[in-house]
């Protein structure tokens, strides 16, 4: 098999929100940059984000980045790194205003400022009462944002490689990152993108679960590539199940619906969140609401013939409000639930939505790994941002609207750090190690020649079903242990997948097989990390973690206030401390989390 080498200053893998934001930085600085993406940039899954992006602009009422920081730390169940969280919350106004300057069509208040709505877990005055912090463009915020950033990239002349699939990270014997190998999907050609800076912005991996709000393309490619190159994955046991996915379809109904006044009801018509979160009610943190819903369903108060969903009711809202602020939801109701939400409540269930963990990074967007006794040493030439990265600002549970913020802030800082590092680097590229390229050639070669083996579609489905069963909203000791075995079995199937389509031209069967190589790494990291963490924290809640005075709600700070690191080799686990010290303010002290 043949390949060619192309040289760039920087290569960015991913053209969703994070990748596009980083690309603006590099293009404006004039560096020769290649942005690789599996799909045309505006088809990246950022396009699906609905509810908004958090910033304490205070356009409707008093707000402060420090309150936002408090909410984020609390939302993270104290697993988030407080330096990175402070950095993000302080930068929020700057990056949201920049986006407005790029042309993003935010909704407006009467005074002409950006419209803001309430969102789960976002409160004023250190947890007192909900605050309007989510900056929104109707319920199409992600679409408006992604298009605005793509348009900005057209303006600054970014060079895109559209429908190129990155396959492996190139790392040399010193551990430095020197680019990626990639395939031109249209022709099957393999190219090594040799670069001094490599930024991963490959998004989430929600497709490891059967029922997910994520797009087909969200297959954790960045995580798989990093893991194969010996980079650990951080906090992969923490997956957010969004309370309101359309039952049966998985399509998301934004929390903005509850922000605008929507109410969750069980089969008795009861507003059950009043029992679980007397203060924040339907706007409690996502993990809290998802568990409450699951409990209602498990106790027989679900709706429908199989009593397997609850209802999201907005029929009491003025139709004008719905059509103005939530037009996309109205459309989704009609399309995917067959329900007109002006007249009838929507059937919803908790659905896999967001990966809190990822490639370990710091607030500068550098990828960091343990080395020589230190827990976070930057990997030369490697940066990551957005959902594929773990900064860690979301800790054990992300607040809604903090992800679009994350990708702006850390997309920008990864870009800035790469620009600064490129400025210091010499002209020469370090020599390419043959071994890293051989890994890619071997993977593709195997698929091209394998005649009998496991079916890609069936194997992926078994993995998705197993993850759903063994590592869902509630987790059980025995199920987790069995899940590790099950995923390990499926891993062996993945190693012998077979495709019938052997064409070179736009071979989507091959693309899916290569994606499955990444999904399985993410699934394995998740189940192994979850099995090991014997406490409950944020989105990770297990039956054997008991509620005691020392371990409130099963959270065991004495033993488990630490980040997990999963290494692919030997499926080994390591841990590193949480950064409890912010950059300028006092530590937000540990306390029991209640809404």
């Amino acid at each position: 098999m043949t390949y060619t080498v192309r040289k760039f200053d920087a290569v960015i893998v991913g053209a969703g929100g994070a990748g596009l934001r980083a690309a603006i930085q590099l293009s404006e600085a004039g560096y020769k940059t290649a942005v690789l993406t599996k799909v045309f940039p505006t088809r990246s899954h950022t396009v699906a984000a609905q509810g908004g992006v958090a910033a304490s602009l205070g356009n409707s009422e008093e707000d402060h980045w420090h309150w936002h920081m408090y909410d984020t730390v609390k939302g993270s169940d104290w697993l988030g790194d407080q330096d990175a969280i402070e950095f993000m919350c302080r930068k929020a106004n700057e990056v949201v205003v920049e986006l407005e300057h790029y042309g993003m069509p935010f909704d407006r208040l009467d005074n002409g400022k950006i419209y803001q709505r309430p969102f789960g877990g976002h409160m004023s005055n250190f947890g007192e009462k909900p605050v309007r912090r989510s900056c929104a463009a109707a319920d199409r915020t992600g679409h408006a944002m992604l298009h605005a950033m793509y348009q900005r990239n057209i303006k600054v002349n970014t060079q895109f490689f559209v429908e190129w699939q990155a396959l492996d990270l190139v790392r040399d014997a010193d551990g430095d990152v020197l680019g990626v190998t990639a395939m031109d999907m249209e022709t099957g050609e393999i190219v090594v993108f040799h670069a001094k800076a490599t930024i991963f912005a490959t998004g989430g991996s929600g497709r490891i679960y059967y029922s997910s709000t994520n797009a087909f393309i969200n297959t954790g490619d960045g995580l798989g590539m990093a893991a194969r190159a010996g980079i650990p994955l951080e906090d992969m046991e923490f997956w957010q199940f969004h309370p309101t996915g359309v039952a049966g379809a998985g399509v998301l109904i934004t929390e903005g619906v509850r922000g605008e006044g929507g109410i969750l009801r069980n089969s008795d018509g009861e507003r059950f969140m009043e029992r679980y979160a007397p203060n924040a009610k339907d706007l409690a943190s996502r993990d809290v609401v998802s568990r409450a819903m699951t409990t209602e369903i498990n106790e027989g108060r679900g709706c429908g013939p199989n009593k397997d969903f609850v209802l999201l009711d907005i029929t009491h809202l003025p139709p004008e409000t719905i059509m103005k602020r939530l037009p996309g939801i109205h459309e989704i109701g009609l399309q995917f639930a067959g329900v007109d939400c002006l007249k009838e409540p929507l059937p919803v269930v908790p659905t896999c939505h967001y990966q809190m963990g990822g490639i370990p990074t710091n607030y500068l967007g550098q990828v960091v790994v343990p080395k020589d006794g230190e827990s976070s040493v930057p990997v030369q030439g490697f940066y990551a941002a957005g959902e594929c990265a773990c900064a860690s600002v979301h800790g054990a549970n992300r607040l809604g609207t903090n992800s679009l913020l994350d990708l702006l802030v850390f997309g920008k800082s990864a870009g800035e750090t790469a620009v600064a590092d490129l400025g210091k680097s010499g002209n020469a590229h370090k020599p390419l190690p043959q071994e890293a390229i051989d890994r890619t050639l071997a993977r593709v070669d195997r698929l091209n020649h394998q005649k009998v083996g496991a079916d890609v579609h069936d194997t992926r489905l078994s993995m998705q079903r197993a993850m759903q069963k063994h590592a869902g909203v509630f987790r059980f000791k025995d199920m987790l242990a069995a899940g590790v075995d099950r995923i390990t079995e499926i891993e062996q199937e993945v190693a012998r997948t077979q495709i019938k389509d052997k064409s070179k031209v736009f071979n989507t069967a091959r693309i899916e097989a290569l994606e499955l190589d990444n999904l399985i790494e993410v699934a394995k990291a998740t189940i192994v990390s979850a099995n090991a963490r014997t406490e409950s924290r944020g989105a990770h809640v297990r039956d054997d973690a008991t509620d005691t005075p020392e371990t409130p709600d099963g959270r065991d700070d004495k033993n488990w206030l630490k980040h997990t690191l999963w290494y692919r080799e030997g499926s080994r686990l390591d841990y590193k401390p949480v950064h409890m010290k912010p950059m300028s303010v006092d530590t937000i002290e540990l306390k029991k989390r209640a809404y």
């Binding site: 799909v39 045309f40 505006t42 088809r43 990246s44 899954h45 396009v47 699906a48 602009l57 205003v97 920049e98 407005e100 300057h101 790029y102 042309g103 069509p105 935010f106 407006r108 208040l109 009467d110 005074n111 002409g112 400022k113 950006i114 199409r140 679409h143 298009h147 348009q151 900005r152 057209i154 303006k155 249209e186 797009a215 087909f216 393309i217 049966g248 379809a249 399509v251 429908g304 013939p305 199989n306 996309g328 459309e331 989704i332 399309q335 995917f336 079916d455 890609v456 579609h457 069936d458 495709i499 019938k500 389509d501 064409s503 070179k504 031209v505 736009f506 989507t508 069967a509 899916e512």
Partner: protein
């Protein structure tokens, strides 16, 4: 809810330049369940059966614009097309979007489409130094962008437009013109007269003969013809 299986028949345009001398229509059937509500669900099942059938897809909820194709003669998104909207007993005919070169099966080369999009300078132009905070815009001014900014660049419209078929290199096409008007209509944009100058051309704008195919097929319910009309109006107004 029952998940009763039923069989659906397809006729699909197939062409793999690596293997086939020329394109052909393939007859193929697949078992689907009642939970397979949309055409895309059925196509995913089809692909599980024959992995060589090639098409783009991503979000499966009508926001990414990947899976535009010609469905029973009309352009649309597979993920928003309900299986129960098809007449029973007749095969569902799937072809690539018309007028663009086919890369493989239902995958077309959209270079020309995006070239036209880029040609209208699809970004906000405002040369004032950016203020510290957001630029202000009244809710009414912002409302002018509704029905324009929601475009997902699926190309259903432009590839249904006869004027675009004949002059894909010269006529901007409905999607590009919708985008052009999106910036013209934005009170924050300062390049209105340059934008109008650029379109004042027998081809770029004036190839549109108000045939309305574009409006008919837009899966997001947008109205490029109306936007084109407004641009033409502005040209007339500035001429007098």
């Amino acid at each position: 809810m029952t998940n009763a299986a039923r069989t659906v028949h397809f006729k699909i345009y197939r062409y793999d330049p690596d293997q086939d001398a020329k394109p052909y229509m393939q007859d193929i059937s697949v078992e689907i369940e009642s939970t397979d509500r949309k055409l895309l669900d059925a196509m995913v099942k089809l692909k599980a059966q024959d992995d060589s059938i090639s098409f783009r897809r991503s979000c499966r909820e009508g926001v990414c614009g990947s899976d535009a194709m010609n469905i029973n003669g009309k352009n649309g998104l597979a993920c928003l097309t309900a299986m129960d909207s098809f007449p029973e007993g007749k095969p569902i005919v799937l072809r690539p979007l018309p007028g663009l070169p086919v890369i493989r099966d239902l995958i077309v080369d959209m270079t020309q489409f995006f070239k036209q999009y880029n040609s209208i300078k699809p970004y906000l132009i405002n040369n004032d130094p950016p203020p510290e905070r957001e630029r202000l815009q009244s809710p009414e001014d912002r409302e002018e962008l509704d029905g324009l900014y929601e475009c997902i660049l699926c190309a259903c419209c432009s590839t249904a437009c006869p004027s675009f078929w004949w002059n894909p290199d010269k006529f901007v096409g409905p999607a590009g013109l919708l985008a052009a008007y999106r910036f013209i209509a934005d009170t924050r944009d300062q390049a209105t007269s340059d934008r109008l100058d650029d379109l004042e051309d027998p081809y770029r704008l004036f190839r549109c003969h108000t045939i309305m195919n574009c409006v008919d097929v837009c899966p997001k319910g947008l109205n490029p013809t109306k936007a084109i009309g407004k641009i033409k109006e502005m040209m007339v107004r500035r001429a007098v």
